[in-house]
Amino acid sequence: MTENMKCGCECECECESEIVGIYPCSGSANVGIISNQLAIGLTKAGKGKMLCTAGIGAKIPGQLRSAEGCDRVVVIDGCPMNCASKIFENAGIAVDEHIVVTELGVKKTRDMDIEDSILSESLEKCVKLF
C-alpha cells in the first residue's frame, strides 16, 4: 500500500518536490472512463498522483485537506459538462490545469470498451500538457 501514499517532503522516500494531484471525473460515458485511465496513466508516468474526486464531492475532510496540500491540482473531465471541475468549484478549491477528454479529439459515446489506441493517443496528448 506504500505506493498509494504521497509524501510532501524532500527526503529519500518516494516523494517529489512538487505534489500534483490528478482528479478524473470518472464518469460512465467512454470519455469518463478514459479520464480515469488517463489519471492512472499520468500517475504511472510520474506526472502526479491520482486522487479521489468523489472524496472532494463528499467533502471528506482528509480529502479536502489533501487537495489543499497539493502544489498543483489537475482536473480531467470527460466532457464539457465539467462535473469534476464543478466539484472543485463547489468545494472552493482552485484548479490549476483543466483537461477535457472530448477536446483531445474523442467523441462522447456510451461505449464502455475503450480501444487501446484511443487511450494511448489521449495519454500522449495529456503528457505533453504537463
Binding site: 509524501c7 510532501g8 517532503c9 527526503c11 498522483k49 472524496g55 475532510p61 482528509g62 485537506r65 496540500g69
Partner: protein, 78 residues
Amino acid sequence: MKIEILGTGCAKCVKTKEIVEKALQESGLQADVVKVEDYETILSYGVMITPGLVIDGEVMIAGRIPSVDNVKNWIIGQ
C-alpha cells in the same frame, strides 16, 4: 486532547512533530501526541498526502507543514 501526526517518519513529518511540541509548549496546553505511521490508519482519515495533522479526530492539514501559530490556534480552538 489527542494530536496525531500522520507520516512515515520523513523530514517534513519530523518537523511537523517539532512544531506541534513547540505550539503546546508556548500555549501551555497538554496533549497526547501520537505519531501514526500505519498507512491504513492514515488512509482511513482520507489523507492521501503526508504529513498530516489530526486533532481529536479532525484532519487539520495534509501535505504541508503547519506553522506554530496555526497549530496554536487549532489547539486553543478545541
